[in-house]
Structure formats: C-alpha cells, structure tokens
C-alpha cells in the first residue's frame, strides 16, 4: 500500500486539571480506512479535535504531518482548506434550512453576496448522487431521517474537496439498515481515493470497513493492528482496549449474598422506549432486570447502548416515548409516570450530567440538597432554614464536601464536590433504590474513592443500588452483578465471580443477539 498521508507524533493535550492525551502517535496511510477504538473517555474525540483544529495549534504538544507537511491549524477552516473534514457525533446541520443550503453553508455559490441558486442546485444534485442520497436538494434537513442527514454531512465534506474524512461514531445514532448503507459509502469513497478515519467501538463495523485499527487507552496510543491479518481477532482488539488493571482502588466489599426467594426491591419488566424524535428507533428494547436490597447491580455498555435512556424513562418518563413495560417495587407494580411518583415510591436517579440535570449551579449547597425533599425541612409550606442548614451541615461533614460554608454556590465547587452534593440531595430524599448514572465521571481519583465508599455504605444500609458506568474496572470493583447493554438491548448478565473486563466487553460490543 501507499505511504503515510497523515502522521501525528507524540501528541499531548492537557485541559485544566486533566491530561486528556498523554502520548498519542497515529499513522494513517494514503487511501485506507483507519479505525480508532478505545473505551469512553480514552481520548479518541480529543485526538480528532486536535487534528481538525478545534483545539488550535499551540494548545497541544507534538507534531501533525499531513501529506508530508507540518500543519499548524488555527481553526477548523484551516484544516478544511487542507482537505481534512470532521463529521462530529452530533450532526452540525441547520434543521430548518434545505439540504442544498446546508451543503454550502459558509461556502455558498454566490457573487457579490447574492446566492446563485442554479449553480447551488446543480452542484447539490451532483453531490447527493455521489453519496447515493435520493432526496430533492430543496428538502428541509429536518424532514429527513438521521441516516440521511449523516449522508448530507458526508456530501458536505465532499463539496470541500475532502482528502481525509474523519467520522466520529457515525453509526451511533443509526439503525442497522442506515448503518450498512453508510459503511458501504465509506468503502465506495475509499475506491475514489478518499482516506477515512472512523471512530467506533462496534467491532463488527471495524472488521467490515477498516484496513487498520489504532487502539487508544487512557490518552495513549497502545498499538496499531492490521485488521485484515488473521491474528487480529475481536478478542485481540478487546484485550487492547481494556488493558491491564489500572491502579483504581475500591473499598473492601463483602459481596451481597442473595437470600433465596427474596423479592427484588426493584424489578423492571419488558421496558421499551422509543426515541423522542425518531419515532422508528427503539432506544431501549424489551429490557428486564432486578435489584435486591443491599445489592449493587452494574449496567455496562458503550455510548449509545441505552443505559441512561433506560434509567431516565423509568424515572418519571423523563426520556423518550414510553412503549411498554412495568416497574415493580418490592413485588408490587407501581406507577412512575412522573418524577414525583418515582420519588414517592422511593426511587432516586442521580444523573450523569450534574451540571445540566443535577444541580442549580447558581444556588447554594444547602438549597440544592434540600430541593428533592423540601417537605422534610418545612412545616405547612414554610421552610425551616435552620433545620435545612443543619441537614446540609450534616452532609457536608459525612460526605466530606469541601466548601467554606453550606451557603457556597454549588457552581464554585470542584467536580468531585459537586457530585457529592448531588448524591447528598438524593440520599436526603430517603430512597430505597438509587440509580447512579456515571457517578464518578470527570472527578479525580481521591474523590472517586470517597464516592465508592458512600455507595458501599448505602448498600450496607440495605438500599438497592443500580450502578451505571462506562468504566469497567469500577463496575468490577463495586458490583455484585453486572448487566450489559448494547443498542438498547440487554446482552448479558454476569455475576461478580465470572466478571472480567474481557467478558463484559464481549457482551457490550455484541450488536444483536441476546443471551439468556
């Protein structure tokens, strides 16, 4: 094959307090499809942002060579001028403009500020034919499905004379049919001489389209494998993604011994949810699971597996369109159609996105903590501020929230301390079942340990804990049982004794068939 078209050498990228990339080297050959895979948060997207100029030259260390030249991109425009085009996970289309208008947005066929519609339509038709999209160029983007929107993005890239196309999890939001079409198109473009980088953790996809795969873990490039070589099996790739056990530490935990015949604290049966906008897409598909008192049950899955969607739709139908399934609490069927009902039945959901869904950042610690159960510190509709303060002080001590007073606005706290406030507010609500969604995301190791300890204590107090996480080591370290999800379905249930990262990853990357 041909020589390298792109070389990224020893890339280091630091954000305040976090080293996102500590040493990544990537070599992409001319005309190949190069896959990049790794766990959530391994640094894949950051690497592509460095390459495309989202993180401009100077904000990272290391060199980028494209077609043999050292590149110093100031912004996306600069990288696009060199023919490097990135298509992000979240599509960057304007829904109320037509396909044609979107294709040439910022790059219009125009003279003296006036758009030449004739040329626009001609060129758009040609581009749509190249990506195999059979839609009129004047159709509004909002009126076509996600799969077709993805094709519009690619057509847009083609209009910019793309040489290197970067696709960040292009099939994450697509159904099987659309995914297949997209992958075929990538192969077709390869025949036309366009090099692609595809970020994905669906191993079957990688096997289908990629020539080589580079594995990234904890901000480092681990290895590059030749996908076509016989020794590159899915197991081999998984082993690379998972790596050795990291130096995470977990509190000593005696595994929960399930009592024979004990009724689960929470049982979900046949839960199915459709996407809020895309009416055809099942985001959660016939999921059933149980959690007993004193038990910590993990849910593992990659991005887009439907874990958060499952949790939020059970918790007051705060996600998507409900399409079936029941929730049982201590063996009795309950209604959880509103958040208030769910809380009333002793269910708490601790969100993965504390800044947007968990906290009122401009308000103080004490008021954030009391919000879920204000009635507990209020008499006849009037809040007893002193009692509220004492409650907050109690949590500040027991959860070790580092803040000068409980009157500190939550927005000024560090991520770890914010997370402790979110946990406090849900513990204050006094639930029997806690659904924790990525409770340690974006916080430092010390704070993680404290949060693990709290989770452990909650289970020891007889609460049922559902622990959603993308970090396999922490699931292995904390859970009594782990469910795995992929593409909205439950793909496995692994007891603590049998759980290893390899086993879990195997279930998580399974696309269709369901075990058990």
């Amino acid at each position: 094959m041909a020589g390298p078209v792109l070389e990224m050498r020893s890339i280091v990228k630091t954000f305040p307090g976090v080293k996102a990339l500590s040493d990544v080297t990537l070599t992409v050959r001319q005309g190949e499809v190069h896959a990049i895979c790794g766990e959530n948060g391994a640094g894949k997207s950051t690497l592509m942002k460095v390459l495309s100029g989202v993180h401009p030259y100077g904000s990272y260390e290391g060199d980028i060579l494209f077609e043999g030249e050292v590149c110093q991109f100031r912004d996306i425009r600069a990288s696009e001028q060199h023919g490097i085009v990135i298509i992000h996970q979240e599509l960057a289309l304007v829904p109320h403009l037509s396909i044609a208008e979107n294709l040439f947005l910022g790059n219009e066929h125009a003279r003296r500020g006036l758009i030449n519609w004739r040329e626009t339509l001609r060129h758009a038709t040609e581009l749509l034919r190249r990506v195999g999209l059979d839609e009129h160029p004047e159709t509004r983007v909002a009126d076509i499905g996600v799969g077709k929107q993805q094709l519009v993005e690619i057509a847009k890239a083609l209009s910019k004379q793309v040489k290197l196309l970067i696709l960040d999890e292009p099939t994450a939001a697509l159904n099987d049919e659309d995914s297949d079409k997209l992958l075929d198109l990538i192969l077709e473009l390869k025949n036309q001489g366009i090099t692609s980088i595809i970020i994905s953790h669906k191993l079957n996809e990688i096997r289908k389209v990629a020539d080589s795969v580079t594995i990234i873990r904890d901000g480092r490039s681990i290895e590059t494998l030749d996908v076509k070589a016989p020794e590159t099996t899915e197991e081999r790739i998984i082993a690379g993604m998972v790596g050795r056990d990291l130096d995470h530490r977990f509190p000593e935990r005696t595994p929960h011994q399930p009592e024979q015949g004990a009724t689960p604290a929470l049982e979900i049966r046949g839960w199915t949810v459709f996407h809020p906008v895309d009416q055809q897409r099942k985001v959660v598909d016939d999921v059933s699971l149980t959690v007993r008192r004193g038990e910590i049950v993990g849910i593992a899955g990659l991005m887009g597996a439907g874990r958060t969607e499952l949790a939020m739709s059970v918790f007051g139908r705060t996600y998507g369109r409900y399409a079936g399934g029941t929730v049982l609490k201590d063996g009795t069927q309950i209604r959880t159609r509103t958040v208030a009902e769910a809380i009333g039945h002793g269910i708490a959901y601790v969100t993965e996105d504390r800044k947007h869904y968990g906290l009122n950042l401009i308000d103080t610690i004490n008021r954030n903590i009391s919000l879920t159960a204000l009635h507990k510190v209020a008499k006849r509709g009037v809040v007893d501020e002193h009692e509220e303060r004492q409650v907050a002080e109690g949590f500040r001590t027991s959860m070790n929230i580092k803040a000068p007073t409980v009157f500190e606005p939550v927005g000024r706290l560090s991520g770890g301390n914010q997370q402790k406030v979110v946990l406090s507010k849900w513990i204050f609500a006094g639930p029997d079942v806690l659904i924790l969604d990525e409770p340690t995301r974006g916080i430092d190791v010390g704070a993680k340990y404290e949060i693990y300890t709290v989770i452990d204590q909650l289970a020891a107090q007889g609460k049922a804990v559902v622990f959603i996480s993308s970090e396999l080591p922490e699931l292995l370290g904390m859970c009594d049982r782990i469910y795995t999800m992929a593409a909205g379905r439950l793909t496995g249930e692994v007891p603590r004794a049998e759980a290893t990262q390899e086993v879990l990853m195997r279930h998580m990357t399974k696309d269709k068939e369901v075990t058990r």
Binding site: G316, V339, L361, D363, L371, L374, G381, E385, P404, E408
Partner: protein, 414 residues
C-alpha cells in the same frame, strides 16, 4: 420591610483580610464588608447616592415631607407590579401584559362602581378575581401548553389594551366612590391628641423599629447558636443604627405631613409577605429552582408547570391591584392608563439584581430598583427636566446598573 438584605448572613471574611480590616478601624470594617457584599449593597448605595445628589440639586426639595409623600404615592403601583414581575423573571419568564391588564382592571372597576353603582369593596374583590383569571389563562398557556411567555403576554398586552378601550368606549370614566379613592390618595386616619405630628404614623414607625431591632437580634442570636459566622459586633450595631435611622427619618417625614399613605401600608405588607414567601416558603424555593435550572428542578420532582402557572396567576392579581391604585389615584379610568408600566416594572427588577436567565433576584431588590427609577423621575421633575431627557437618563440608569452587575460578577469570577 426589613428582611432580605439584612437577614442574609455574609460570607465569612478570609482570615488575612479581616485582620487587615480591623487595623483600619470601623471604616475599614465597613469597606471590607461592602466589598464582600457588593451585589447586595451595591444598589442600595446607588439609591442612597441618587437621593443625596437630588436632595442637593433641588436644594432639599426632594426631601420635603410633601414630596416624600408624593414620591410614595407616585411609585406605589410600579412597585406593586415590580414585586410580581420579579417572581416572573426569577422563574425565567417575562410578562409584557401587566400595563394593559392594569388599565383593564381599572376600567372594569369604573364600569362596576360608576356605571352600575356596585359598592366599592365588592368591586375591589371582583377586580382582583378578574386579574387572577387573566393571569391564570396566560399562565395556563405558558405552563401547560408551552407557548413562550413573551408571545403569550405580548398577545395579552394587545388584547387587554383593546378590551380596555371597548369597555370604556374610548372615554375616561370617573369619579370613583370615596372609599376606592382612598386606595390611591388616602392616608391613615388621625387619632389622639394634637402633636404637630401624625400620631398613628409615629406609632406605626416606632412599632416597626421595635420589630426590626427584635428581628435582627433574634436572627443574630440564632446564627450564633448554630455557630454561623456573624457580622462583627461593631458592624452589626452600625448597620442596625443605619436601618433604624432610615425608618425613623421616613416616619418623621411622613408624620409631619398627612401621615403614612394607605398604599404604603399595603406595599409594606406585600414586601414583607412576598419576601417571606420567596425566602422561606417551599413555593418560593421552587420558583428559584425552575428559574435556576429547569431540567434539574424537574428531575428533582418540582412540579414546574404548576409553579409557573401560579407565578402568572399571582402576577395577574398584583396587576389588578396596581390597576385599582392607579385608577383611584387619578380618580378616573382612562384607556391610556398603564402605558409602559410593564417596562418600568421589568426595568425595576433588572436594576434590582434580577438575571435575564432566571433564578436570581429578591423582592427587596425589585423595590430598590423601582425606587431608583422613582427617585430619578421625581427628582428630574423637580428640576424641570423634560420627559425626553428623563427617558434618556432612565435608559442609561438601567444600562449602568446591569452593566455594573455583569462587571462585578465577572470580577468575582463566578
């Protein structure tokens, strides 16, 4: 009217700085305290400055008893609206309909009492109910149907203005029964021996001072009990003295003229009541929560739609009350009443520390903001500044106040 600014315990001083302040004596302490509480005290100080400046420029006319009494009467309805508007803005919405609604309820009161001879207490209750109904309809459309508040209330602004003209057939209607007139122009009755002062007003002032002092000491004692940080004793006493002095001066000024206006008593009750609700009631908390972060509030089980609905219903009631006060003050209902009131109320809220994105603000802040505008108005009238320049200066005041707030926030890095 003592609660909000004072009851909020200030953040404790970093040890280094408080030591330095102690060296600078009382003045140093005051300055250090101010620096830490720029947001709370900034506008209060600005209001004080404006009062002093205009007092000087008008050779003291601003603070003549008759003028102070006038100032209260002139601004009472904007202040009533500003209280409701503050709640709306904290909840993350806006209400453009209140000016028209004010005119509409005034017209409705005129039709009831003047044309149909219905007794004024009945008319008053009916008007408040009409205001509640108008607020409820708008609140329903906003909260439950999800139509943006800007649109709904913009429609309401046109609609109620039109209905007012229909109701009045383009005419001015009056005069009102005497009882209703008192709402706009009345004063507390004079009782007891002749003292050159208005006795009931004096009594009320002294009771208020006693209540404030008691409240402040109780708060301080409770804070100490819970080992919270409190103001240094000297600073606390200074603040208390300033507060007492302010109430005393106002009392004496009003008592040496015709006494406290009835609408001032109503306003005082509203400020204390709403201040209490916003600070201490579950309902108030929920308003701050939905304005501060709506998704988080929803996921915390706050019934956001119900809260929004009641915020607008409440705004309707207060707009009706303001409408009655305006009509009573002019002693006539006019189709052109209440024009631009919504903008004055919105400006008051923002000058008083509300945030465009919601979740921030206090009732007392809205009052201070309203008074800043009111004193500017009144002072410029005394100086015979034309309405053209008055508009310009009020516009600048709004810009400066909010600009200061933004600058101050950026400086403190929050």
């Amino acid at each position: 009217m003592s609660t909000d600014v004072t009851a909020k315990s200030p953040a404790p001083a970093p040890p280094g700085r408080s030591g330095a302040a102690a060296d600078g004596g009382l003045l140093g302490l005051v300055l250090a305290g101010l620096r830490r509480n720029m947001r709370q005290y900034g506008m209060l100080i600005a209001l004080g400055l404006i009062v002093v400046l205009f007092a000087i420029w008008t050779d003291g006319d601003l603070l003549l008893p008759r003028n102070v009494s006038n100032l209260v009467l002139q601004n009472s309805y904007i202040l009533i609206l500003a209280i409701g508007m503050m709640l709306v803005i904290i909840a993350g919405h806006i209400d453009l309909s209140v000016g028209s609604l004010t005119a509409f309820t005034g017209a409705f009161a005129a039709v009831l009492t003047v044309q149909h001879g219905i007794s004024w207490p009945v008319a008053l209750v009916l008007c408040l109910l009409v205001g509640a109904a108008a607020g409820a309809v708008q609140g329903y459309l906003i909260a439950y149907l999800g139509i943006p508040s800007f649109i709904v209330t913009l429609a309401g602004m046109l609609l109620f203005r039109g209905l007012t003209e229909i109701l009045l057939k383009g005419q001015t209607l009056g005069p009102f029964p005497e009882g209703l007139q008192k709402l706009g122009n009345g004063f507390l009755p004079e009782v007891g021996p002749n003292t050159n002062y208005h006795n009931l007003t004096l009594l009320l002032g002294f009771v208020l001072i006693a209540a404030v002092v008691w409240q402040e000491f109780r708060d301080r004692r409770r804070q100490q009990e819970f080992s919270l940080d409190v103001l240094p004793t000297r600073l606390f006493l200074l603040k208390l003295t300033a507060l007492v002095a302010a109430i005393l001066v106002l009392t004496l000024l009003l008592a040496s003229y015709k006494g406290a206006p009835i609408v001032l008593i109503i306003l005082g009750a509203l400020v204390v009541g709403y201040g209490y609700v916003m600070r201490n009631a579950v309902f108030g908390r929920h308003i701050y929560a939905i304005g501060g972060n709506l998704p988080a509030a929803k996921l915390s089980g706050v019934k956001d739609k119900k809260v929004t609905f009641y915020v607008f219903l409440n705004m309707g009631v207060l707009a009706a009350l303001a409408g009655l006060v305006v009509a009573a003050r002019l002693n006539a209902a006019s189709p052109k009443a209440g024009v631009n009131f919504e903008l004055e109320a919105i400006a008051s809220s923002f000058i008083g520390g509300a945030s465009m994105s919601g979740g921030v603000g206090t009732v007392l802040g809205a009052i201070i903001g309203g008074l800043v505008l009111g004193v500017l108005n009144n002072g410029m009238n005394l100086l015979s500044v034309g309405t053209d320049w008055q508009q310009v200066i009020k516009g600048l005041a709004l810009l400066v106040a909010v600009g200061f707030d933004v600058w101050n926030k950026r400086k403190s890095g929050s």
